[in-house]
Amino acid sequence: MRSLNEFLEAVGDKHIYEEELLKINTKRFSVGEELGNFMLDKRQLVYAGRYLGKTRREFLPSSILLEELSRVEGLNRIHVDAETAWLFVCGRDIFEENVRSAEGEFADGNAFLVMFGGSCLGYGVVEPFEGRLILRNVFDLGDFLRRER
């Protein structure tokens, strides 16, 4: 999932019109009209409006987008307990047996938002691992701490 729309499709959401988004290097933003009035020299701009995510090897959604998606009905989600949630935000994958419930089919190749207590902590992709399935961690909120090091 290299792009925002590939990510949205993988978790079951609709595409958005990427051409209308503002690009700052690999980051994608949506900027409303009111804020757009204060657009000055774009070469100096580092952050603008609603941050959606960035593309590295895979698309990394922003926590703002994840929070929005956590309120959308019908998307792929798994729910986990506190211990699994903490391991996930420490960058770990999630074994199938640690998934308390899943909305959507927990099958190879499917992407899921990871939910704990009503909050979205990140997302991952289901993959086979040593004869069982895991949710491979693609992005989690612990990234805030890791990127500040």
Binding site: V31, E34, L35, N37, F38, M39, L40, D41, Q44, L45, V46, Y47, A48, G49, R50, Y51, S62, S63, I64, E67, A85, W86, V89, F116, G117, S119, L121, L141, G142, F144, L145, R147, E148
Partner: protein
């Protein structure tokens, strides 16, 4: 230098030991939760907070069995770790939804996120900083706290082309000499020459701030310096060179100085607030609020 600085403070009528401390504090992010919800949520996990009476969303941390800088709630952006005095300038600025607000030296963004929260993400916050490294922290804070009404620019606010834009409110949290409460090695790093250089730079920024302010707009000037050259003397310069009205500030701390090392200043400067660490239990701080006529 410790003795030199403590003697200066004594000369300003205030005896300090140089060992004053502040307490860990946090600010509830009202874009995502409420004071009551956060206190209950952290309380259920054993963290005890006490309300700071002179702040809308500020709490002291009495105890916590886990690190508040690495909790689920922190990662979800429900609060920011922000020293009590550092929360005060944005309360004095008092931004409202729909306004245009400029944060001139914004990184690492604690006050920027506080401004956006007060505006409920409605209106425009323009955040500017000269340091790319510190702007990375600002970007992280904006994202973590769910801010969607901010444009952040990497530029020196003095050199930036604002293309004729003017703002309802401007926060100038100026780069300053800092104070020893926030930095234990402060006395060994600072000289009086630094203070003079910082004061010069601050005046340039103040001049720019006034130009960018709409008529009737509010300027809040703040530093975490205890040195009068960076505080009261700069406000005196500001009033001498611009048509501004200094407004009174309700809150903690003392009225700012109107006599500095034997020189009398304008009496209205007493309307600004000065946070002496031994009185407020915070780091040193200075806050002024002025309206452009």
């Amino acid at each position: 230098m410790k003795r030199v600085f403590l003697e200066r403070y004594s000369g300003l009528g205030h005896s300090l030991t140089g060992n004053e401390k502040t307490r860990q504090a946090l600010r509830v992010n009202t874009l995502k939760t409420t004071n009551e919800e956060l206190v209950a949520r952290l309380g259920s996990r054993g963290a005890r907070l006490s309300r700071i009476g002179w702040l809308r969303n500020g709490f002291h941390v009495e105890e916590s069995p886990f690190s508040l800088g690495a909790s689920f709630e922190y990662l979800l952006g429900l609060y920011s770790i922000q020293e009590a005095a550092a929360q005060f300038p944005v309360e004095v600025l008092d931004p409202h939804p729909g306004e245009a607000v400029l944060d001139m030296c914004a990184a690492p963004g604690g006050k920027t996120t506080q401004i956006a929260a007060a505006m409920t993400n409605a209106g425009a916050v323009v955040a500017v900083d000269v340091s790319r490294e510190r702007l990375y922290a600002l970007e992280n804070n904006l994202e973590r706290c769910g801010v969607t009404n901010c444009l952040a620019y990497w530029e020196d606010a003095n050199a930036m082309d604002f293309k004729g834009k003017q703002f309802d409110r401007v926060l100038l949290d100026a780069p300053c000499s800092g104070n020893y409460v926030a930095d234990r090695s402060w006395f060994s790093k600072r000289t009086l020459k630094d203070v003079g250089l910082n004061a010069e730079r601050q005046r340039e920024l103040l001049g720019t701030a006034v130009k960018l302010l709409k008529q009737g707009g509010v300027l809040v000037y703040t530093t975490c310096s205890l040195e009068p050259e960076e505080d009261e003397l700069n406000v005196q310069w500001l009033l001498d060179n611009n048509d501004l009205k200094l407004e009174g500030i309700e809150g903690p701390g003392s009225p700012a100085l109107t006599e500095v090392f034997g020189n009398a200043l304008r009496g209205e400067i007493a309307r600004c607030r000065r946070f002496w660490p031994d009185e407020t239990g915070t780091q040193g701080f200075f806050v002024a609020r002025a309206v452009k006529r």
